[in-house]
């Protein structure tokens, strides 16, 4: 370039000014990003399985045009209010911003006896997020699943009652779903839900004939309240013998997956054959080592006699 000094200086100054100008939005944006902490939104979902297993799913995220989950955030969970006596435990969110905590044994009895209770989730402030608190109120409900056969029709009936009340207090108008428990999920008996009547009762016919059960045809059928704002998620199940009997022959035949006393004969023959051959050879070698020793002893005696 054929610039003289002044022109060159001017060019460099203009270039620096242009770069700085272009950088302004980035610097400004970055400083805004780095100083403005997001406010986490905490949501709490309650699960009660057969009044035996209680757990809570906590979700954390923030809204910035769309919803973003907050991963690896520690959330503290309390019963009724956020103090140390009511502390249920910590939960760490996963990459989806969700975390699950099984409620401690000592709180099970208390929760079971209350008619309503609050679940409170709390997070502390950190470099990226503000402190946040979220809560949900659960009305405690109880499901009583009954199975019966009317003529030849198999029916699943469920009664929904309030918990904590002195007399049985049925809940009307709760949407119930019916299902069969499978190994990793719940098989719905219908897409539709059935609303409980004034006696707190909902009923559905079990029309399946070939649902695989165990060797006796046992299956678990049940009813659930799903994602209800007031009650959370409540599941209740009962065992029936309405399934198709499946013959499990794992324990009666000799197979690679069978127990130790049912080893396939070919495997016994093969394994013992190999073990006897190899260890026979090793024992032969050990005998040869003993022969070396015996020959040496004989030689020493012969030398001594000479």
């Amino acid at each position: 370039m054929n610039f003289n000094n002044t022109a060159q200086n001017k060019f460099i100054k203009s270039l620096i000014a242009a770069i700085l100008f272009l950088l302004i939005p980035f610097v400004y944006g970055y400083s805004q990003d780095s100083t403005e902490k997001k406010k986490p939104l905490l949501s709490i979902t309650y699960y009660n399985v057969n009044s035996d297993s209680f757990f809570v799913k906590v979700s954390s995220g923030y809204k910035d045009e769309k919803f973003f989950p907050i991963e690896y955030q520690n959330v503290k969970l309390y019963l009724n209010e956020a103090d140390k006596n009511n502390f249920l435990g910590d939960v760490m969110t996963d990459p989806k911003g969700e975390g699950i905590i099984h409620l401690p044994q000592k709180f099970k009895g208390m929760i079971d006896s209350l008619s309503t209770f609050d679940l409170v989730a709390e997070t502390d402030a950190d470099v990226k997020y503000k402190a946040a608190i979220g809560s949900t109120t659960i009305e405690n409900a109880f499901l009583d699943v009954q199975i019966r056969i009317v003529d030849t029709t198999k029916m699943i009936r469920v009664y929904v009652y309030k918990k904590g009340a002195k007399v049985k207090s049925p809940i009307k108008g709760v949407e119930m779903s019916f299902f069969v428990k499978r190994m990793v999920g719940l098989f719905p008996l219908s897409d539709k839900t059935i609303s409980t009547d004034s006696a707190g009762m909902a009923e559905m016919e079990y029309a399946i004939t070939d649902m695989p059960g165990d060797s006796l045809g046992a299956i678990l059928v049940g009813a659930k309240i799903a994602d209800a704002d007031t009650y959370g998620n409540i599941f209740s199940m009962k065992e029936t013998f309405w399934g198709a009997k499946t013959f499990n022959n794992y324990e009666s035949v000799r197979a690679l997956w069978a127990p130790a006393d049912r080893v396939p004969v070919w495997l016994i023959v093969l394994a013992l054959g190999i073990i006897i051959t190899v260890w026979g050879t090793i024992l032969f070698i050990i005998y040869q080592v003993y022969r070396i020793f015996r020959l040496g002893q004989q030689e020493i005696k012969r030398e001594a006699n000479l």
Partner: protein, 456 residues
């Protein structure tokens, strides 16, 4: 003509007499560096024993990081490393002995002692991984013959006995020489030599038995060596994890073990040569040959890796894809590519240059291969376990990843120290090069070898 033969014999006899004397030097005396090294190994070993005691006496929730998903951790990856190490020492020695590769004779004992140490401490490693040592007894009394774990236990015990005999039997004439020659040694040591020499007199019949046993053991060790690592591979291949769902696994493990074993023999040879001043016997030519073996074996191992990674990556089925993506570009990518670089590419390419076949550079390459081989087992075991078929959900966050605890690291370091201690102490009590085998390889008759033994 007769005079010429006598002169050649005389030169050879002088050579082996001098060799014999020099090989006794490390046994006769241990220098300061040697004492410091042994002391250091003892310290690390006892730290490992203390860590194991802590693991067994305190809650395992506090002491180790293993969990429902990563239930094996570095104990098992280290076990696989040691099994791989044990494979080649004895196997190579056996193959080369049977195929009359005479150049390998001075290295055979180094390879064999590495093999015995490795299989011994692989066994210790698996007991440590069991959590309670008494479980080994229950495994033997209640184990299922269908389980690869039982096959592994049986084959490890068998291989340990076979390799120990393979090490011991060629050593008998050497021990006899030690018993005749060493002076100023404690009584217990001389008593040990006397007992272990098994009244060796070098009679033709004794020699015949020694040679027959070596040949039989060499034949036996080949299928045993291949079995031990194949069965270890089947421990993984028969477990339900996408990463291990491979018919290639046995051969893949054996190829990796060959590469690791040759690298370990290079490292062992270098240190024995340097610190015992055996340059005259462990010459540069051995490094040249071993370097070429390293290139060839890296190529073979590369081929198996291509099969193991490229074919599943081409399909990217849903079960396998997360594991592969984590390895190629995700959270394990740095370790994965470093292992490829130092464990395959470096030993495949650098020894192609003649200057890299010298002892120093080749040993540096071999050390990198050994380190990469340890981490290779790590990335086979740990990320493999962390990607089960069923999604990991509703579990504590700490179960979703694995970082070995200090106790686990100390136990593994203790196992390493114990193996190195075994090799070092062996070389302090027994000659690390078999003089009679080297002499025999040079065409010296057994009568003359006997004469050398008696002269000594």
């Amino acid at each position: 003509m007769k005079n010429e033969t006598t002169a050649v014999d005389s030169v050879l006899m002088n050579k082996y007499e001098a060799m014999h004397d020099e090989l006794l030097r490390p046994i006769q005396k241990t220098g300061l560096a040697g004492k410091i090294w042994i002391g250091f190994l003892f310290c690390v070993f006892f730290a490992g024993v203390f860590a194991f005691y802590t693991q067994e006496t305190k809650s395992k929730y506090e002491t180790i990081s293993l969990n429902n998903y990563t239930m094996w951790g570095i104990y098992i990856s280290n076990f696989v490393f040691f099994v791989a190490l044990s494979l080649v020492g004895a196997l190579m020695s056996a193959v080369l002995k049977l195929t009359n590769f005479e150049w390998y004779r001075p290295l055979s004992r180094i390879a064999e002692v590495i093999a015995v140490a490795a299989i011994m401490f692989a066994g210790v490693g698996i007991i440590v991984a069991m959590g309670h040592p008494e479980r080994l007894y229950f495994l033997l009394t209640h184990g299922r013959l269908q389980s690869p774990i039982i096959w592994d236990i049986v084959v490890i015990i068998t291989y340990f006995v076979a390799t120990s005999l393979f090490l011991f039997i060629p050593l008998i004439p050497g021990i006899s020489q030690l018993s005749n020659h060493l002076k100023d040694k404690p009584k217990w040591q001389m008593w040990m030599y006397k007992k272990l020499s098994l009244s060796w007199r070098g009679t033709p019949e004794q020699w015949k038995i020694v040679k027959r046993c070596i040949t039989i053991l060499a034949i036996l060790i080949i299928p045993l060596g291949i079995s031990i690592h194949t069965v270890t591979a089947w421990l993984f291949a028969s477990t339900l994890r996408a990463e291990w769902n491979s018919t290639n696994f046995g051969a893949y493990f054996i190829a990796g073990a060959f590469l690791l074993g040759v690298a370990a023999v290079i490292v062992g040879t270098f240190f024995f040569r340097k610190y015992y001043r055996f340059e005259k016997y462990l010459t540069d030519s051995y490094f040249d040959k071993m370097g070429k073996m390293l290139v060839f074996l890296s190529g073979v191992y590369f081929y198996f890796n291509i099969n193991e990674y490229l074919v599943p990556a081409f399909k990217m089925d849903s079960m396998h894809s997360q594991y592969l993506l984590d390895e190629f570009t995700g959270k394990d990518a740095i370790l994965f590519w470093l292992v490829f670089l130092f464990g395959i590419f470096v030993p495949a390419i650098l020894p192609l240059f003649k200057s890299m076949l010298k002892p120093w550079p080749l040993t540096v390459i071999a050390i990198l291969v050994v380190i990469a081989a340890w981490f290779k087992r790590y990335i086979i075991v740990i990320p493999g376990l962390s990607h089960p078929y069923l999604p990991i959900q509703n579990v504590p966050h700490s179960w979703t990843h694995y970082v070995p605890s200090l106790i686990e690291c100390m136990v593994v370091a203790g196992i390493f120290a114990a193996a190195l201690l075994f090799i070092t102490l062996f070389s302090k009590f027994f000659p690390i090069i078999s003089v009679w085998e080297v002499a025999e390889g040079d065409g010296v008759s057994l009568e003359k070898i006997n004469l050398l033994s008696k002269k000594a």
